[in-house]
């Protein structure tokens, strides 16, 4: 019974998204992939896709490194409370308001044309709370006595981080990369406020889906869904590996 309700619920969550994929494969004039051919030939779509991939990959790397550094605050109570403030405020403040704050900052700094820098900053601020939480969930399960022993053996902070924490969190680092990639790749609000004259894929899709003029946009949307599903599958794999690793190494 429980399983049936759960599967029905998950099906309800997924089925509208799947229906969009089904619409993208509608056979027209005998051609099965007609809308896919159309969207791939659309220069505006391909250029926005390439730009979005570049922006998402870059911001994923930067936000993972930054969030790893900030997540180290987990091991000290006072630092943890301070970072919790950051997570809550950055994670829950409406993105429209935060984006306007970043725009104002750019005006104060005189960065009128450096839109890419602002966009990276906005996306990093968006990914940071989620990535820090991913690291904290992992740290919660780390046996703290390892760090005490390392300290007793005379390891300094940097050595503890490099020799102990990075190997223990290697899979979280990858998960964080994938997660922040997906968040940046699919983010619309920050992109629309901060990308300036550049058009990212989320903006392109928002405009096209809102006007609903060309059915090839279903194919464009489906491509984005495929990319997301591939990355989510990779995330599942990493979480599974992480679980196995944790079980295999006992308390660690």
């Amino acid at each position: 019974m429980k399983k049936t309700i759960l599967i029905l619920f998950l099906f309800l969550m997924i089925v509208p998204i799947l229906s969009l994929i089904a619409m993208s494969f509608e056979r027209t004039n005998g051609i099965f992939f007609r809308w896919y051919v159309g969207i791939v030939r659309n220069e505006a779509f391909t250029s926005s896709l390439v730009l979005s991939l570049f922006v998402a990959v870059s911001s994923a790397f930067i936000s993972t490194i930054l969030s790893f550094a900030i997540s180290l605050a987990f091991f000290n109570k006072t630092q943890r409370i301070i970072v919790t403030f950051l997570i809550v405020i950055l994670g829950l403040l409406p993105s429209d308001i935060l984006s306007l704050g970043i725009n104002r900052l750019s005006l104060l700094l005189g960065l009128y044309n450096s839109n890419t820098i602002l966009l990276f900053f906005g996306l990093i601020l968006y990914c940071l709370p989620f990535c820090v939480l991913l690291f904290w969930i992992r740290y919660y399960f780390i046996d703290k006595s390892i760090l005490i022993v390392a300290k007793d053996l005379g390891l300094n902070r940097l050595s503890i981080v490099i020799k102990i924490l990075i190997p223990l969190t290697s899979l979280v680092l990858l998960s964080s990369l994938l997660f922040s990639f997906l968040l940046s790749f699919n983010e619309y609000t920050r992109s629309s406020y901060l990308s300036g004259s550049d058009v990212l894929l989320s903006e392109f899709l928002y405009g096209k889906l809102n006007s609903g003029t060309d059915p090839s946009i279903y194919a464009g949307g489906s491509l984005v869904i495929f990319i997301t599903i591939i990355f989510v599958s990779l995330l599942i794999l990493f979480f599974r590996l992480q679980g196995k690793k944790r079980k295999g190494s006992g308390a660690i």
């Binding site: 997924i14 550094a69 605050a73 091991f75 630092q79 403040l93 308001i97 704050g101 989510v232």
Partner: protein, 275 residues
């Protein structure tokens, strides 16, 4: 164990850099500037206290409150269901839940708009089941906004509750099993009281997330287009940027109060445990 793996100085400098836009939002809500002159003012807050703005904010807040309550209840039930499966299945179910959460919001909302339209999937499904022509949902029905907002927020609640259920000490569940408690009793008498922290967190997080959701309203709201983005855009077109920053400041204060409240609950629960 209390240890510092990052120095206070580095952490504070890093956080201050990251918080610059937030500091600017607070600062600009009290400053009027026309490019040449600037002075202290509270005109942004005054603008937000005009009847029309209060009505808009109330409408957005009430919607967010309703969404947060319903989504939290559903998320709790789903999380309890998920927790009863093996860890492999739990990972799979939770990961499937992340797909609608991580997908591009335009695509997600558009697909729901299509699904809830007059000739959409739900009406077709209901017509098939009842063998009658049914058109409960249509493209411009404001209830669609609630449905999609709730569906969007449920995964967040499920993640929060799943994490909370995972850290419940096994001894409680073992005792419940020994006492032959029914699943309903186990959920209401053991899991729910131990998850009160997660309930508060889920309610608050979903409230603020749904407070910010605008794409749902723009796509599905029909004639009613009251959303935070439309409010901000109308303030921008009227040149009242200060009111936007003032709204940001109010939200930041509310968030700080939320953290304080959570901290109090934590202290209280630690105190009662020690007692």
């Amino acid at each position: 164990m209390e240890t510092k793996l990052i120095s206070d100085r580095n952490l504070i400098v890093g956080l201050l850099i990251l918080m610059v836009p937030v500091i600017i939002v607070i600062f600009m809500s009290f400053i009027y500037t026309d490019g040449i002159n600037s002075h202290l003012t509270i005109s942004g807050f005054k603008e937000l206290s005009t009847p029309i703005r209060i009505q808009e904010l109330l409408s957005i807040s009430l919607r967010a409150l309703l969404v947060s309550i319903i989504a939290t209840i559903i998320a709790f039930i789903i999380a309890v269901f998920i927790s009863s499966f093996s860890s492999t299945n739990q990972t799979i179910y939770l990961s499937v839940l992340t797909i609608p959460f991580l997908i591009n919001e335009s695509i997600r909302v558009f697909s729901w708009q299509h699904f809830l339209s007059v000739n959409g999937g739900i009406n077709k499904l209901l017509s098939c089941i009842t063998n009658k022509q049914i058109a409960i949902f249509n493209g411009a029905n404001f209830w669609n906004v609630y449905v999609v907002m709730i569906i969007t927020c449920i995964p967040l609640g499920v993640f929060i509750f799943s994490a909370a259920i995972k850290i419940i000490p096994n001894i409680y569940l073992t005792v419940a099993k020994d006492l032959n408690m029914t699943p309903f009793y186990k959920t209401t008498r053991i899991i729910l009281p131990l998850c009160k922290f997660a309930v508060v967190t889920s309610l608050t997080v979903i409230f603020f997330i749904s407070f910010s959701q605008s794409t749902e309203v723009n796509y599905l709201g029909g004639d009613t287009k009251i959303s935070i983005r439309n409010l901000i855009l109308s303030l921008m077109s009227a040149g009242k940027f200060q009111a936007i920053y003032a709204l940001g400041s109010i939200i930041i204060v509310l968030l700080i109060l939320f953290i304080y409240f959570i901290h109090l609950i934590q202290i209280k629960s630690t105190f009662s445990k020690n007692k």
